[in-house]
Each structure stands twice: as structure tokens, then as C-alpha cells.
């Protein structure tokens, strides 16, 4: 009932987060191929969208959910909002992304949260761009870094996870040192990147280091008019934490067929190819051709920092409250 199909046309409803995007021709191709129209319900950021799905599991908002990442995966699985489904191309996805052994959540894309640096800023001052997390506590990088609050931002949470993955039990000491070195915390990515970071186009920000994405440098190029030869910013490989995004068929969906068709489509080349420039993430399907800006300007770290979804699910709350105590109070 909730998908509200109109007069014979079959419509599958996709519940997702605000950042979801797909280009129109791609969506039309899906409809042409399968006969399913897609209705998209964007419902806040990734966390809020998932929580809405959980709240409404008795009468699901839609048929498919896209946008659960590895930091939220266990919550989705524990709440059992997805029905099991093995996508047609599932086997071709590298094992590192297939984090759900119960085969309910299907990986679609991934991205890396990394510290970004404003190249010009460092060049102007003849200061080397830092390479590792540890270097960020060095006194020459005092008052240069801006990060997001993990309590309100998924980017911020990913970065905290990065520090846990890197330093294990010592992560809070690391943060104490970051704090002593003048780290600035803001609430969301928008303020951090557009407001505080000096490298963003047109920004009045003053800090040359920001927690953002590995795909931010190509985006800077892509959304400039005209596009420059070199990226004004760069992502620091060794600071990257990997986020994998999943989709799943909602349990109790009105149109499970459509839902399955849509997830299959998400793993098709057509859709996967579209991902980099619409959502600035990297497709999970190997051998998907990347657009030139990505090939030229994006880093895909070979050995990113990771944590198991179970670990994140278990400890997230504690991390946030401890982090808040150490960094904000």
C-alpha cells in the first residue's frame, strides 16, 4: 500500500538518505528493462533514514532500502529490517565488501573518509603536507585541522573509527593530543568543508586540513567552472577509513520482485558506472570503468583503515560519549 502504485504502472519504492542521487537516464533504463518505475523517498541522513525504516518496519515505507553503511550495518541486521536476498552479481563483488554473512545486505559502493589538505596553502608556506594520523599532532600543524562531531556527523564518526583502527586502546590519548594541538570540531561536514576548510572553492575558511572524502578532490575539479588542470586539494591515503554502503529488500515489502530487480540493477554496470559522479563514491563491482576526473584526481587507498561492523555496532555509543568527554568538555 505504501508504494502507492497508480493505475497498473508498477512502482517500486526506494527508501534512502539525502545524499542519494542517480542520473535520470540510468533510472529510465531500469524502467525500460524491467517495467518497474522507481519512487525515491529520501529521509534525512544515513542514520535517520535507517531509523525511520526501523520505526516503520511493521508497515514499511517502501520496498528497498539503500544507504546503510558499515557503521550502521549491525543495527539494521539486529533489527531485522531486511529480507534475505542474493543478488545476481553478488559473487563478483570482492570479499572485503561482503560484510553480511547472512546475505540480507548487499554492498553497492564504497568510499573513504580521509583527511583532505589544501595544496596551495601548504605550498605557499613551504610546509610539507602531513602523511599520517600521527603527524597531525605535530606542532607545525597546530590549529590546522577541522573535524566533524561524531555525535552528529557520520563523517566524524568514520574518522573516530579511523583513529580507533589505527591506535586501538590509545585512540583517546591521540585525541587528547589532537585537542592540545588545536583541533577544531564542528557539527557537520558542510560547515567543516564549506565553512572552515581553506581549500574549498569560494570558502572563507582558514584551516587547510579537513576530514572529508577521498572523492572530494575530484569533486572540486568536476564542479569548478571551468575545470582546472590539477586538483586544488588532496586526500591523505594513510588517514582513510573505508565506508561501504549496502542495499537491502525491506521485510514486508509490497513489491519484493521490484525490490530485488532494483538491487540487481544497482550492481549492473550501468548503475555502477553512474555512481562516481552522482554520489562521489566508488563502485563495488570490479572493473567498472571510472570517469576521467576520478581516474585522474581520486585516490583509492590500497590498504584503508577498517573495523568490523560488529565492533562498530557494539562500541559506537561508548566511543561517542568518551570522545565527547575528552574533546568537547
Amino acid at each position: 500500500s505504501s508504494s502507492g502504485s497508480t493505475s497498473g504502472a508498477r512502482t517500486v519504492t526506494l527508501v534512502t538518505h539525502d545524499s542519494f542521487a542517480v542520473s535520470k537516464p540510468v533510472l529510465r533504463a531500469f524502467t525500460t528493462a524491467t517495467g518497474w518505475k522507481v519512487r525515491i523517498l529520501k529521509s534525512g541522513d544515513a542514520g535517520a533514514a535507517l531509523n525511520q525504516v526501523i520505526l516503520t518496519k511493521a508497515a514499511p515505507l517502501g520496498d528497498v532500502m539503500f544507504g546503510v553503511d558499515n557503521t550502521f550495518l549491525t543495527r539494521a541486521l539486529d533489527e531485522d529490517v531486511f529480507a534475505s536476498f542474493s543478488a545476481r552479481n553478488l559473487k563478483e563483488i570482492p570479499r572485503e565488501f561482503r560484510l553480511d554473512s547472512t546475505r540480507r545486505a548487499t554492498p553497492i559502493d564504497f568510499g573513504d573518509v580521509c583527511v583532505n589538505a589544501d595544496r596551495k596553502w601548504f605550498a605557499d608556506r613551504r610546509l610539507p603536507i602531513p602523511k599520517t594520523l600521527r603527524e597531525l599532532t605535530g606542532s607545525q600543524y597546530r590549529d590546522l585541522l577541522v573535524v566533524e562531531n561524531p555525535a552528529t556527523s557520520s563523517t566524524g564518526l568514520a574518522f573516530v573509527a579511523a583513529t580507533v583502527a589505527e591506535f586501538d586502546d590509545g585512540w583517546l590519548d591521540y585525541w587528547d593530543r589532537l585537542r592540545a594541538n588545536g583541533v577544531k570540531v564542528v557539527d557537520g561536514w558542510e560547515e567543516a568543508y564549506n565553512g572552515e576548510f581553506s581549500g574549498a572553492a569560494g570558502s572563507t575558511g582558514t584551516r587547510p586540513l579537513v576530514v572529508s572524502y577521498a572523492s572530494s578532490p575530484p569533486a572540486e575539479v568536476f564542479f569548478a567552472d571551468p575545470q582546472p588542470e590539477t586538483a586544488p586539494t588532496e586526500a591523505l591515503d594513510a588517514t582513510c577509513f573505508r565506508q561501504v554502503e549496502f542495499a537491502g529488500v525491506l521485510r514486508g515489502a509490497a513489491h519484493p520482485d521490484g525490490a530485488r530487480a532494483l538491487i540487481d540493477f544497482m550492481l549492473s554496470r550501468r548503475f555502477q558506472q553512474d555512481l562516481p559522479l552522482t554520489m562521489f563514491v566508488v563502485p563495488v563491482m570490479p572493473n567498472t570503468p571510472l570517469p576521467p576526473v576520478f581516474r585522474k584526481f581520486a585516490t583509492v587507498p590500497a590498504d584503508p583503515l577498517t573495523l568490523t561492523p560488529e565492533r562498530i555496532g557494539r562500541d559506537r555509543r561508548d566511543w561517542i560519549s568518551q570522545w565527547t568527554e575528552h574533546v568537547l568538555r
Partner: protein, 534 residues
């Protein structure tokens, strides 16, 4: 002493429809979500409230929330009242334009304003929070209090002056008591806005500052800890109810001295020009500076944002122009809903007759949506409107309905003080002359609250254009509103996205200004032509 309203059901209808609206679209969803938090295995468990109140950190949050809201309210009144005084008493060129400019902040998304304030170096402190709240809320005071002030009967002030009261004492002892209901209405709205403010606290205050609203958001949207969220919501509601109670006491009893607003009786003469300017300066400075800085940054890159209004960025659901069109459509519907329901309720509440508890309660209930977190309402919608006939979760209508809920208090609180102040003899005279109750309403009440209604409608429109918090949860790609579009542009890196966001913000603000200007002008000419032609 009062005219009987013979058709009791007419009044019941006036009262019942708005109340039903608020009950269905507010009380029910909020009740449902609170129920999820409190109902444990069929029993009600209120212990989380106790836990919240005994938790030192959360107590600090509650204290800070109230404190910053109170401080912001006082600051807003301090900046806005002098401006209101001269805007409602003096006649000078550019008056209407000024009122329009002061109204503009109302629609701006917090993210956008934050950029402007940050560029001006205002951020990261309680001061920044207060300044931003004042920036947003000056219009509330200027317009609600201004509408009442203009209709004030000046004869009592003359009497006070002749009896030896100087201008200040005249204001304190005669004008202020007469304005008290409107002041209380405006102050309580400002307080609630600041109390539940979200973006300003997060973006301008910074992560150090947590309020009930941000906590509820975090507990609900991020952690899905409905138990704690419900407890916090109850605490929030409790504080809101207390604040409304205080406002109710401040309102005092009726006075029958409201007349047709006669805008700007006193032409600003040479001597008083300086005084007018001095009174307006703080408000103008506070509001215009960030606005101008926004306009300036929107012109970056040769006005890319303006020349690409019709361009749908790669991967986005629509162009800025599409979002604007959607916003205007939604705002129109929300305004009609809010004004219609609000006037019905205001009329029912102020009809002469025995004032019973239902009536008094009704007035307070409509204000509650201002005092409850958008995320609570948004999540509540999801769990109650999931079955026909109210399967509204994914309907277009849910957005104007949500906006109307937020705008309703403006209409009710903006018109009730004025309706109350209408001399009952005016209605009696009309009845004696053969006017039926609805004719009395049309010929007397409506004529006298014309300006207040225009102001309230303007607010409703602006609120709908600018509403963001609740919209984000219920918006669909085909119903993307302008603030949501701005937010989405800004959540992607790259210059063209920022340019389009800024341009859209400035256009949104311009539309609001124009709407306010038209309202102001038409209210003026209406009263002027009434004076001339009847």
C-alpha cells in the same frame, strides 16, 4: 453584558476544526512516538524522565536550553522594541521596505545564515547563538507587537501626559499594559523558537553547546534511543507549558480599546528623525549586515548561481527553479490552511461569552508545535499515518500540513490580542443594527484584524518557505523545497554547488521581502482607503 451567540454549534465548529487538525496532525503523532518510549510490555514506565532529571549532564543541557532561550528572548525584545515603536508610530519614507527587510531572515536556512555570520566572525560562542537568534526573531516582535501598537487608542496616552507622566512613564504605565497581550504573544513565540532552535545551536554555537533539541535529535535520529528521547521530549514539553503559563499570566485581562490601525500617525519631523534613526539602528545593523554579506557572496563567480537557476546539477533531482516553484506552491497551501484554521480558532476563543477551560486550553495547545522537536513530530508522522484513510507518510500534503502546524501559532497569537481588545460595544452596536453573528464577524472583527491577519499570513508564508527541520524528514525528490535544495547543494563539494545555494538563498529572501512589502502596502492602503472611502 455580552451578546449571545445563538448558534452554539457554529462556535463548536470554529473551535472543533482547528483543534481536530492539531490533534490529528500533532498530538496523535507526538503521543505515539512518546508512547514508543514509555510503554514497556503494555505498562507505562516513566522512569526515564527521572533518569534524565537526575543525570547531571542532561540537567546541564536542560538548564542551558532554558537559559539561552531566555537570554535570546530578552535580547530580541531589546533590539526589536525600539524599532517597533518608531515603525508603528511614525510615518516616513521607506517604512514598509524596512519592515520587509526585517522579515527576510525568517526564511533563510540556518546553514546559509551561519556562513554569513561566520564570515563576520560571529560564531562559536553563546554570544553568537544569541545574536543569531535575535537576527531571526526581530521580525516576530516587530510585526506582532507592531500590529497591536498601531491600533492603540492614543487618548489614554494623552490623558497620562496631561496628568504629569513623561514619555517614559506614559509608556510604562499606559502603553505597556495595553501592549502586554501582544508582547506576551511575541515573547512566547520567540522563546519557543529559541528553545527548540536546532541549526543555530549546532552551526553557530558549535559542538560544545547542547540543547534539549539537539539531544532529542541525536537520541532519535542517530541512536534510535526512543526511551531517552521520549523522556527528553517530556521535559521539553514541561518547560514549554511552564513558559506558556508565564506568558498567559503576563497577558492579563482584556481591554477594550483597540481601534482601526492608523499606521504612522506622526510624520517624522526634523527633530524626531534622529530619534527614529537611533531606535532603528540596532535592528537594521543586526539584520542587514549578514544579509548584505550573503548577497555579496551570492554574486561570486560572475553570478554563476543566478545564471544557472534553471540548471539541474548532475545527479540532483531538480534545478533551483524547480525547488523554488515547489516551495511557493507548498507555501501557498500552508498559508491558506494556517490562516483559515487560525482565524477560526482565534474567533472562537475571543467570541464574547463565558470563557471555559476548553477555550483557554485551545489557545495553548496550538502553540505547542513550536515547542516540540521537529524530529519528534516527523518520526511520529511515520508511525501513525501508515494506513488509509490517513496514509499521508508519502503524500505531498504532509508538507504543507506540517508547515501549517508551525504557522498556526502565529495566526492565533497574532490576532487574539487584537480581537480581545476590540470594544465589545462595537459588536453589540452591529448586532443591534441587524448584523447576524457572521456579519458581525465580517464587518467588525475581520476589519479590525485585517492588518494582523496580513502579518500572520506573511509569517505563515515565510515559515513555510523557510521550514527545514521537519521538511527534511518528509520531503520527496519531486517535492524538494528550496531550503532542502540549498542544504543539498551545500552538502556537496565544489564551487558551483555553493554558488547555486547562495543564489537560491538570496532569491528566497527576496521573495519573502516582496511578500512582506506587498502585505505592508496593502494593509496601509486598505486602512487609508477605509478612512477615505469606507
Amino acid at each position: 453584558m455580552t451578546a449571545r451567540v445563538p448558534i452554539w454549534w457554529g462556535r463548536a465548529l470554529l473551535l472543533g476544526v482547528p483543534l481536530a487538525f492539531v490533534t490529528v496532525f500533532f498530538i496523535w503523532p507526538v503521543g505515539a512516538i512518546l508512547g514508543r518510549g514509555f510503554v514497556v510490555r503494555g505498562g507505562v514506565d516513566l522512569s526515564p524522565v527521572g533518569e534524565v532529571l537526575t543525570n547531571a549532564a542532561l540537567r546541564r543541557v536542560v538548564g542551558f536550553t532554558i537559559w539561552q532561550a531566555a537570554l535570546s528572548t530578552v535580547a530580541t525584545l531589546a533590539v526589536a522594541l525600539p524599532a517597533t515603536a518608531v515603525l508603528s508610530r511614525y510615518r516616513f519614507r521607506g517604512r514598509a521596505l524596512l519592515v520587509a527587510v526585517l522579515t527576510m531572515p525568517f526564511v533563510l536556512p540556518t546553514v546559509v545564515v551561519a556562513t554569513a555570520f561566520r564570515a563576520l566572525g560571529v560564531h562559536g560562542s553563546i554570544g553568537a547563538i544569541v545574536i543569531a537568534h535575535t537576527f531571526f526573531n526581530v521580525a516576530v516582535v516587530v510585526r506582532i507587537v507592531g500590529a497591536a501598537w498601531r491600533g492603540l487608542d492614543s487618548r489614554e496616552e494623552d490623558a497620562a501626559r496631561v496628568l504629569g507622566a513623561g514619555p517614559v512613564r506614559t509608556f510604562v504605565s499606559v502603553t505597556l499594559p495595553a501592549l502586554r497581550p501582544a508582547l506576551a504573544a511575541a515573547a512566547s513565540i520567540v522563546f519557543l523558537f529559541c528553545f527548540t532552535s536546532f541549526g543555530v545551536i549546532l552551526v553557530l554555537g558549535g559542538p560544545r553547546f547542547a540543547t534539549l533539541e539537539t539531544e532529542i535529535y541525536r537520541q532519535t535520529a542517530q541512536l534510535l534511543d526512543l526511551r531517552t528521547a521520549a523522556a527528553l521530549s517530556v521535559v521539553q514539553l514541561g518547560a514549554v507549558v511552564i513558559a506558556l503559563g508565564v506568558a498567559g499570566v503576563m497577558t492579563g485581562r482584556n481591554r477594550g480599546s483597540h481601534r482601526l490601525p492608523t499606521p504612522g500617525k506622526i510624520p517624522a519631523r526634523i527633530g524626531s528623525r534622529a530619534r527614529v534613526a537611533a531606535a532603528l539602528a540596532p535592528a537594521i545593523l543586526l539584520v542587514a549586515t549578514p544579509l548584505l554579506s550573503l548577497v555579496r557572496s551570492s554574486l561570486a563567480h560572475g553570478g554563476y548561481g543566478y545564471s544557472h537557476l534553471g540548471t539541474t546539477p548532475f545527479g540532483a533531482a531538480g534545478s533551483p527553479a524547480d525547488a523554488l516553484a515547489t516551495s511557493l506552491r507548498i507555501a501557498a497551501v500552508a498559508t491558506i490552511l494556517a490562516v483559515g484554521l487560525g482565524l477560526a480558532l482565534a474567533t472562537a476563543v475571543t467570541r464574547p461569552g463565558r470563557r471555559n477551560r476548553v477555550v483557554r486550553l485551545a489557545q495553548s495547545v496550538v502553540v505547542l508545535p513550536l515547542g516540540v522537536s521537529a524530529v519528534t513530530v516527523g518520526f511520529g508522522f511515520l508511525i501513525v499515518f501508515d494506513a488509509p484513510p490517513l496514509n499521508l507518510r508519502t503524500s505531498w500534503w504532509i508538507i504543507p500540513i506540517a508547515h501549517a502546524l508551525v504557522a498556526l501559532p502565529f495566526v492565533v497569537r497574532g490576532t487574539v490580542p487584537i480581537l480581545r481588545a476590540i470594544d465589545p460595544r462595537q459588536r453589540e452596536a452591529a448586532a443591534i443594527l441587524g448584523a447576524r453573528p457572521w456579519q458581525v464577524w465580517r464587518e467588525i472583527d475581520l476589519r479590525l484584524i485585517g492588518r494582523a491577519t496580513a502579518v500572520a499570513a506573511g509569517f505563515a508564508f515565510a515559515i513555510s518557505l523557510g521550514e527545514f527541520g521537519a521538511t527534511l524528514f518528509i520531503v520527496r525528490p519531486e517535492t524538494t523545497t528550496a531550503p532542502v535544495a540549498i542544504f543539498r547543494f551545500l552538502s556537496r563539494p565544489g564551487a558551483t554547488n555553493v554558488d547555486q545555494a547562495m543564489a537560491l538563498s538570496v532569491i528566497l529572501m527576496g521573495i519573502t521581502g516582496v511578500v512582506a512589502l506587498i502585505g505592508e502596502r496593502s494593509a496601509n492602503t486598505r486602512s487609508a482607503s477605509t478612512a477615505r472611502a469606507g
